[in-house]
């Protein structure tokens, strides 16, 4: 296993007519040995490109990449000792499951050709290698519960099974670093959650260094030791998942992490109150008066009687009952606000009702104005 360091890594594509498109910009990242690092962001944020640069499938335009302290910028993919799990699994269709898992081992063996080995008197050494590979394939397939499928071809497998073979192919080689590119996005919702848990357990068992790319923030939160939120080619926040949730570094992270997303309102802070569109609510803070954005999570919103003191007037636009909790979408002067409340507090909520809402100011966030406005300490 190994650590991975990115220092000011960037990717520039040559566009038509000599124009340049910057897909990834100055990414600094230090991934420790055995860490599960998740790159997350909306599509086009540069996360996959970053992963592919680590893999060596994409050239690094700027900066340096180190694996285990050695600069590997110019090392071809095959010499970086990494394993890559593709979104579409990329299983070799003409090979069986066993051959797929063994493929990376076969290409790396010292005695590739049976004939050459036999002629040069290395037949015994080759046989020993083959036995080792077989044993490794057996071990990996046992770990992943693929024993019964070894003789099958990829086309004869279900999506979940293919996904496990892809993981098996990666772990068979015991690489320094595992790279996953949205490996669960082709699975149905239920299987995705199951496989997510399995991946997490596998990581515990292997103590592997993993870099994992996903656009699904929930998947990112549950898997990550370290969460790297990306947007427009830049790292927005690099921290533990809980910290990203509780103390988002900027407005983008705040809106991206957490479901339903955080309510964010553009307005002005003045005299201990936050106001937007002429509607004010108390917001005790030491921050000086300024234009900023206020953020509060849906589970920090409470419904109140219409026109009650300190509340913002709203109309219920939609009620979504989830069983134990209920999501209520509110239309107000602050725009669309989502409240997530206990189901038994929402039994009376009807679409079209006039209500008011308050938010928990102690758990509210303030951000500078702008799309990626930085967090302001409350």
């Amino acid at each position: 296993m190994a650590n991975v360091k990115l220092h000011k890594v960037g990717k520039v594509y040559e566009g038509p007519g000599g124009s340049q498109v910057r897909a990834v910009e100055a990414v600094d990242l230090a991934i420790a040995d055995g860490e599960f690092c998740v790159l997350v962001g909306p599509s086009g944020c540069g996360k996959s490109t970053t992963l592919r640069m680590i893999a060596g499938l994409e050239e690094i335009s700027e900066g340096t990449l180190e694996i285990d302290g050695a600069r590997v910028n110019d090392l071809p993919a095959k010499d970086r000792d990494i394993a890559f799990v593709f979104q579409n699994y990329a299983l070799y269709p003409h090979l069986t499951v066993a051959q797929n898992i063994a493929f990376g081992l076969e290409t790396r063996r010292a005695h590739r050709s049976a004939l050459v080995a036999a002629l040069s008197g290395a037949g015994a050494a080759r046989a020993e290698e083959s036995a080792k590979i077989d044993a490794r394939v057996a071990e990996v397939s046992r770990t992943l519960g693929l024993d019964a499928l070894l003789a099958r071809f990829p086309r004869e497998l279900s999506g979940g099974q293919r996904q496990r073979v892809a993981v098996g192919r990666a772990i068979a080689r015991d690489p320094k670093v595992f790279l996953f590119d949205e490996p669960l996005s082709n699975l149905d919702a239920r299987l995705r959650i199951e496989t997510r848990t399995e991946l997490r357990m596998l990581h515990r068992r292997l103590r592997a260094t993993i870099v994992y790319v996903t656009h699904d923030q929930e998947e990112a939160m549950t898997l990550a030791d370290r969460l790297v939120v990306m947007h427009k080619g830049k790292v927005q926040q690099n921290a533990g998942p809980q910290e990203c949730y509780e103390r988002p570094a900027n407005r983008f992270v705040a809106g991206f992490i957490g479901t339903p997303p955080m309510n964010i309102v553009d307005g002005r802070l003045a005299n201990g109150a936050f106001g937007a569109n002429g509607v004010h609510a108390p917001m005790p803070t030491r921050v000086s008066d300024r234009a900023c954005a206020l953020g509060f999570r849906p589970d920090r919103v409470r419904l109140a009687a219409p026109n009650s003191a300190g509340s913002v007037a709203a109309t219920i636009a939609a009620v979504e009952r989830l069983g134990d909790r209920t999501d209520i979408a509110l239309d107000s002067a602050w725009g669309r606000i989502v409240a997530r409340i206990d189901a038994d507090l929402a039994t009376g909520a009807r679409e079209g009702d006039a209500v008011g809402f308050t938010f928990d100011a102690a758990h509210a966030h303030l951000f500078e104005a702008g799309e990626c406005g930085a967090r302001i300490s409350v």
Binding site: K78, F84, F86, N88, A90, Y92, F103, T107, R108
Partner: protein, 288 residues
């Protein structure tokens, strides 16, 4: 869909007539190959009428034909057969290897001028073979390759524009991630081509191999141009030896017998490869 009996009858009639039109020449060739020399001669001048079953099949015609091929008894046939096999096998191998390799490069490697080169290559398909015949002959004469098998075999190893195009189109459909997975697994381009791309191209390879086989096996013009001595000739050219010095035919029954023998490998190969053709079409159809 249920057809009316009349529509069915018409359909069957058309199909049967079509089949008859294609099968009749083959059948008739076989019939003549089994006739006596006199009856065979009469058959091709038309004076014997059309006979669908020979009254007394002369199976020894086939042995006679083999003996009489070329100028040396028995060995003439053996030489021609050996030459045909050597040329055909090498040309098929050469065409498959070079065309798939070049097709892979055009489909997967990004290099300066690849598009222009591809267009130039496609352009060569528009040139009729007759145009390049004489320049090629002069080039091969410079090499001292006249009356050797080289001019027949070597060009195959430099690709065939049509098959390169077919391979390129097929390889372009193979997901990029398969090639990337192979790169991560430690393969270079040559190994990716050999271990990943070529096995996946089986349907194209079957078409390329069978068409090249049939084309080369039956090729008459190129061997006729480049080969002069008897022991270098291929089967297709050896057949021509049954013509007498005036261009007429004395031994039609033997010519027909050897023609039937010459055709057998093509028919066997086509039947054997049929499954792969169909598989290729079906796979293309269901690929999501």
């Amino acid at each position: 869909m249920k057809r009316s009996p009349l529509a069915n009858a018409i359909l069957w009639f058309v199909l049967i007539m079509g089949t008859a039109a294609f099968v009749f020449p083959l059948w008739w060739m076989t019939v003549v190959s089994l006739e006596t020399p006199e009856r065979a001669g009469a058959a091709i001048t038309g004076s014997g009428g059309v006979v669908l079953v020979p009254p007394s099949p002369q199976f020894h015609n086939y042995l006679d034909a083999i003996r009489e091929t070329g100028s040396k008894p028995w060995m003439g046939f053996v030489d021609a057969l050996a030459n045909s096999i050597v040329v055909t096998v090498l040309v098929v191998l050469g065409t498959v290897i070079s065309s798939s390799l070049v097709g892979y490069a055009f489909a997967r490697l990004r290099f300066r001028g690849s598009r222009a080169l591809f267009l130039v290559m496609l352009g060569t398909m528009m040139l009729p073979g007759q145009v390049t015949m004489i320049p090629l002959f002069l080039v091969f004469r410079q090499f001292g390759w006249i009356d050797t098998l080289m001019p027949l075999v070597v060009p195959a190893f430099f690709g065939n524009a049509f098959f390169i195009f077919m391979y390129r189109q097929f390889i372009a459909q193979i997901p990029e991630s398969l090639v990337e997975a192979a790169r991560v697994d430690g393969l270079g381009h040559l190994a990716i081509w050999w271990r990943i791309v070529l096995p996946l191209c089986r349907p194209v390879t079957a078409i390329c191999a069978v068409f090249t086989f049939i084309g080369t096996w039956n090729d008459f013009l190129a061997p006729l141009i480049y080969l002069h001595s008897d022991e270098k000739s291929t089967l297709a050219v050896a057949l021509n030896g049954f013509k007498n010095q005036y261009g007429g035919l004395d031994d039609v029954h033997l010519l027909m017998a050897l023609s039937v023998l010459t055709m057998i490998p093509c028919i066997v190969l086509f039947i054997a490869a049929q499954k792969t053709f169909v598989e290729g079409l079906a796979r293309g159809a269901v690929k999501g």
